[in-house]
């Protein structure tokens, strides 16, 4: 068994830092007559754990990176706009305005500026949130 071949189970960055030390330790253990299969299992297990740990760190780092902040910002903004539009289209006020009839079937008064207050205030809140 060649210690260097076992090191391939570890990530490259880890090998560059600790590889020569681990290879020396494996060789020392082999020289002492330790069972090769036990050494192999230990090194393979350690390498897989290290790869899993680095993958987990990389995933966590990518989710908190500035690029992901921008993506989260876009997602939140898109959600706000969709919610804003959906709320506006389904509100009784805008429905009545579109059909020209009130909730009771009677003809509604022509639209007045003060009747648009909810839409206007929502727009201001959205602009304030984005600024």
């Amino acid at each position: 068994m060649k210690p260097a071949s076992l090191l391939r189970w570890y990530p490259r960055a880890w090998r560059e830092r600790y590889g020569s030390e681990l290879a020396a330790l494996i060789q020392d253990d082999l020289d002492e007559g330790r069972p090769a299969w036990r050494l192999r299992l230990s090194v393979i297990g350690g390498g897989l754990r290290e790869r899993f740990r680095q993958a987990r760190h990389a995933a966590a780092a990518s989710l908190t990176s500035p690029a992901w902040h921008n993506r989260w910002g876009t997602i939140v903004l898109a959600g706000l706009i969709c919610g804003f539009l959906a709320g506006d289209l389904t509100s009784p006020l805008s429905a009545g305005r579109r059909s020209g009839a009130g909730p009771g079937g009677r003809r509604e008064q022509p639209w007045r500026p003060e009747a648009g207050w909810p839409v206007w205030s929502s727009s201001r809140a959205l602009i304030r949130l984005l600024s």
């Binding site: 330790l25 020392d28 350690g46």
Partner: protein, 106 residues
């Protein structure tokens, strides 16, 4: 798990800190020492996994050597503090257990 990552008496990081408490050692010397005082044989994978974590947390550090293959490590002041805290916790639990078993002479 404690902030230092020490959990139980046969936890590799704890054993490594205990081994380094009396001076710097490289990997093979660490494994031999731990086997002598704790009866635990750490495989190369477990030993270097624990060394990696301890070095990342600043509890141990490489100690000047030109030989990359036999690089010794030493315990840092935060490592000594973490070890002392972990051993104090274990002593408290040990005392309580011995007293409840009626085995504590004190």
């Amino acid at each position: 798990m404690s902030p230092s990552g020490l959990r139980r008496p046969n936890d590799p990081p704890l054993l490594i800190l205990v081994s380094l408490a009396d001076g710097p050692k490289h990997g093979h010397a660490l494994a031999k020492d731990i086997e002598d005082f704790a009866g635990v044989r750490l495989g190369p994978g477990a030993l270097y996994g624990a060394i990696t974590r301890l070095a990342e947390r600043g509890l141990i550090e490489p100690f000047g050597s030109d030989d990359d293959r036999r690089r010794p490590y030493r315990i840092t002041p935060p490592g000594s503090a973490a070890l002392a805290a972990a051993l104090a916790d274990m002593r408290r639990v040990t005392r309580a257990g011995l007293a409840r078993l009626g085995l504590d002479p004190a």
